[in-house]
């Protein structure tokens, strides 16, 4: 009993210390995205039901999903049951592709983005900045340009100028409470 148990105990303690150190190292990654072995904390931007604001909502995703593609996919999943927020994009929108070149994310969404969009300046603003703000939390993304069906857009619904990449807009954002 005695000696064997001791060795096992020491081995366990050493293993625990290694795990803790590893976890701490993992935590000191990019400031905007917290990571740990179980997953990384990211934000997706949903909207309030009355369409007044965007709300940053926390999600834990696999570390490899902390990417432009992973974030948009997470955004498109929308709110979870019980969350009072809503997805400000047409629910059937699909991600076609996303690429980052020179700190600009070019995100291409499916035609449903336009065809199932209700319109309105408010609707358009919240749709566009839900995507832009979500992507711009990545350290490698400063600006975002939205494409639909592979086409560059002059506008999505007739209000916003989408000919050039956009900066994230935090004036639309309220904090989750």
């Amino acid at each position: 009993m005695g000696k064997g148990t001791h060795k096992t105990l020491i081995a366990l303690v050493v293993l625990l210390v290694i795990i803790i150190i590893w976890a701490l190292v993992q935590r000191s990654g990019p400031p905007s995205v917290a990571t740990d072995p179980a997953g990384a904390e990211v934000l997706i931007y949903l909207a309030t039901r009355d369409g007044t604001s965007l709300v940053p909502v926390k999600r834990i995703v696999d570390v490899e999903k902390v990417s432009p593609q992973g974030l948009i996919e997470e955004l498109l999943k929308g709110p979870r049951p019980g969350e009072p927020w809503v997805l400000p994009l047409p629910a059937n929108t699909r991600l076609q592709s996303v690429a980052v070149v020179d700190r600009v994310a070019y995100v291409d969404l499916s035609e449903e983005m336009i065809e199932f969009h209700p319109g309105g300046t408010t609707g358009e603003l919240l749709t566009v900045y839900a995507v832009v703000n979500t992507l711009a939390q990545l350290p490698e993304v400063e600006l975002v340009q939205i494409f639909v069906g592979g086409r560059e857009l002059e506008t999505l619904m007739g209000h916003l100028d989408l000919r050039t990449p956009l900066e994230p807009d935090f004036s639309l954002v309220i904090e989750e409470h």
Partner: protein, 635 residues
């Protein structure tokens, strides 16, 4: 155990929850057991058990606001009193609030604990704490007994829905419960060819109301089936049927099924209610893709590229001499619509969309000619030669072989408008206002729940405002004064060149959810005058309309605000997708009040900015019969 994403409920309930990221076995606490009522759960039959279960779990998430569940009846949000509650593991609805909301009579005998409900031909009797119920006299066993809690009568949701024949749909994404009366279901969508034309059939179980819209870039026909649910899987499917290349289907809002046909060419269509079985059908036009001319020994040959089944007719017009070819069920898709020839026989060839479904090709000829038309592979050839010895029988002369849609160049010189009543004091003389009604033509803007279009209501408000401004002597220029599509650069051309004192863009707002309502005004933060303008307009709109004040907001990214170099504001007078505000926007009296409020806002701005007042709102009656709904265009 251990974070698995699959869970099987208690054996009493044989529902299997698979692959739902929101669920893990630890969420399924003992409280959930016995929760699910198997009877009458209409969604269960459609195999969406996982979805329903997840929604049920909404009530069990610690700290999760159960009151966030909004209940809708026939697309209208009900008061929060009707939110479902979970009592002892059963989903129950407060009956009293529900009764007034959906129009059923409720008789409550507190002594006997007896609940009696009558709605149309449905009669329900239930008792508090008893699972015995009666539906139209027939005994019915409830899965959960009605309860009295905090003086509220609570009855099982699924039984009520089943007994009253309401359709029940949980919307996961918005944590909403949709109840509706009728069950219009889009059961099948078919694309086929009929006599060479592409035909779309949207099959439903009962006759339906529908709308169609033609959109550009890429060319698409949108079919909205109102009050309907999707009975086929949503999604996208490439197709190869005539001019159609892709078909997309989805639920657009709680009670509209939207079908989108993407086209290779911008063709028109006829939409009609199906006769044999209920539903909507669209027959798409043939596309006339191009025209070409070649000289021949006899004279020349015109070739019209069009599908082989497109019917056509050739005939003549005189004084001056012309040969006319009409292609029926056709839309003109040719880029070059005029061929200048200047030849001995033919001066020029012109093609136009003569009627929505007729393409007319006109050959201007020098005197009588012989013209023969026949089908060739890929189209129709028209051979022209010198006149035959005997004249062809002359066809009836018809006026109007001109293109139907002439693109009007806006007049930059601010013409004074005819037909406006003169007022003694021209208080607005010398002030130049550019009014910009949003959207138009192919771009309907936002849509209201009853099918109203933003482009129509904002045009009407703008025309009313134009009349008010013109009556006090302002020079008014409109970026559009009819239902037509205006490109962004054209909208802002004058404002960009600094021509004008004020640029006012008039819109109606929308959001995906019907909770959004009210009035807001946008301006560019770099422009102080624009701020003054926006604040004056918003203040005046709030005073006159009294809708929710969403405030004055700065935006750098709105196209017209960014490009304009004169004081500019964009107003969103109300939310057209909000049922109450749509009703208001469809009311001419409300639109007149919008115009008056904007007039007063402008008046305030000119007073502050230029020491000028427009004076009181002039009393002019706008033209009767200006009904924006009637002005809706069919592509």
């Amino acid at each position: 155990m251990g974070g698995g994403h699959n869970a099987v409920l208690d054996e009493d309930c044989d529902f299997y929850v698979g692959g739902n990221p929101f669920l893990s076995s630890k969420n399924l606490s003992g409280r959930v057991k016995g929760l699910i009522e198997t009877e009458g759960w209409s969604l269960m039959r459609t195999g969406r058990a996982a979805l329903v279960l997840a929604v049920i779990l909404l009530f069990f998430i610690p700290g999760g606001p159960a009151s966030a569940t909004q209940v809708y009846f026939n697309g209208r949000a009900l008061s929060s009193d009707v939110a479902p509650v979970v009592v002892d593991g059963h989903v129950l609805l407060p009956v009293r609030s529900l009764a007034s909301a959906i129009g059923m009579s409720l008789t409550w005998e507190p002594g006997a604990g007896r609940i009696e409900i009558q709605r149309q031909d449905k009669h329900i009797v239930m008792h508090i704490n008893s699972r015995e119920a009666q539906l139209n006299g027939e005994p019915h066993q409830l899965r959960a007994a009605p309860q009295l809690k905090d003086d509220r009568i609570l009855a099982p949701l699924t039984f009520l829905a089943e007994a009253l024949e309401l359709t029940m749909r949980w919307d996961m994404e918005t944590a909403a419960l949709h109840l509706s009366d009728a069950t219009i279901v889009v059961s099948e969508i078919l694309l086929c060819e009929e006599e060479g034309r592409t035909r779309l059939d949207v099959l439903t179980n009962t006759p339906v109301a529908y709308d169609t819209i033609l959109l550009a870039d890429p060319h698409r026909i949108v079919v909205d089936v109102h009050g309907a649910k999707l009975g086929v899987p949503p999604g996208e499917q490439p197709v190869a049927a005539g001019v159609a290349r892709c078909l997309r289907v989805g639920q657009f809002g709680p009670d509209v099924v939207r079908v989108v046909v993407e086209l290779n060419a911008p063709v028109g269509y006829e939409a009609f209610a199906r006769e044999e079985e209920p539903g909507v059908a669209l027959l798409l036009n043939h596309a006339v893709d191009s025209l070409s001319w070649r000289d021949t020994d006899e004279g020349g040959e015109l070739f019209i590229v069009v599908p082989p089944t497109a019917p056509y007719e050739i005939w003549r017009l005189v004084e001056p001499d012309r040969v006319v070819i009409d292609v029926f069920h056709a839309s003109l898709n040719a880029k070059d619509r005029t061929i200048l020839l200047g030849g001995e026989l033919v001066k020029q060839v012109r093609a136009s969309q003569f009627l929505p479904n007729v393409v007319r090709v006109v050959l201007d000829v020098n005197g009588p000619v012989e013209a023969k038309a026949f089908r060739q592979e890929g189209g129709v050839a028209i051979q022209l030669g010198p006149p035959p010895p005997i004249d062809l029988e002359l066809a009836e002369i018809e006026p109007g072989d001109e293109p139907v849609a002439l693109i009007k160049e806006p007049d930059p010189d601010f013409p004074s408008l005819p037909g406006v009543k003169e007022v003694a004091e021209k208080t607005g003389k010398g002030l130049r206002v550019i009014l910009d009604p949003g959207h138009g033509g192919l771009d309907p803007g936002a849509l209201g729940p009853s099918g109203s279009k933003e482009k129509d209501v904002v045009l009407d408000i703008s025309l009313r405002l134009r009349d008010l401004l013109a009556a006090v002597g302002c020079e008014v220029y409109m970026t559009r004064d009819e239902d037509r599509y205006v490109e962004f650069p054209e909208r802002v051309r004058l404002a960009k060149e600094g021509k004008g004192d004020v640029f006012l863009s008039i819109h109606a707002n929308a959001f995906r959810f019907q909770e959004a309502c009210g009035t807001e005004t946008f301006y560019h933060p770099d422009k102080q005058s624009s701020r003054l303008l926006a604040e004056a307009l918003q203040t005046s709109l709030m005073k006159e309309l009294g809708r929710t004040d969403r405030g004055v907001k700065t935006r750098r990214d709105l196209y017209v605000l960014r490009e304009s170099s004169i004081p500019t504001a964009l107003v969103e007078v109300a939310f057209i997708n909000h049922p109450d505000e749509e009703k208001l926007l469809l009311d001419p009296e409300f639109r007149q009040r919008c115009a008056q409020a904007l007039f007063e806002g402008l008046s305030h701005y000119f007073r502050e900015r230029a020491g000028r007042s427009l004076g009181p709102v002039p009393e002019i009656l706008p033209d009767a019969g200006e009904n924006p709904a009637a002005a809706a265009s069919e592509g």
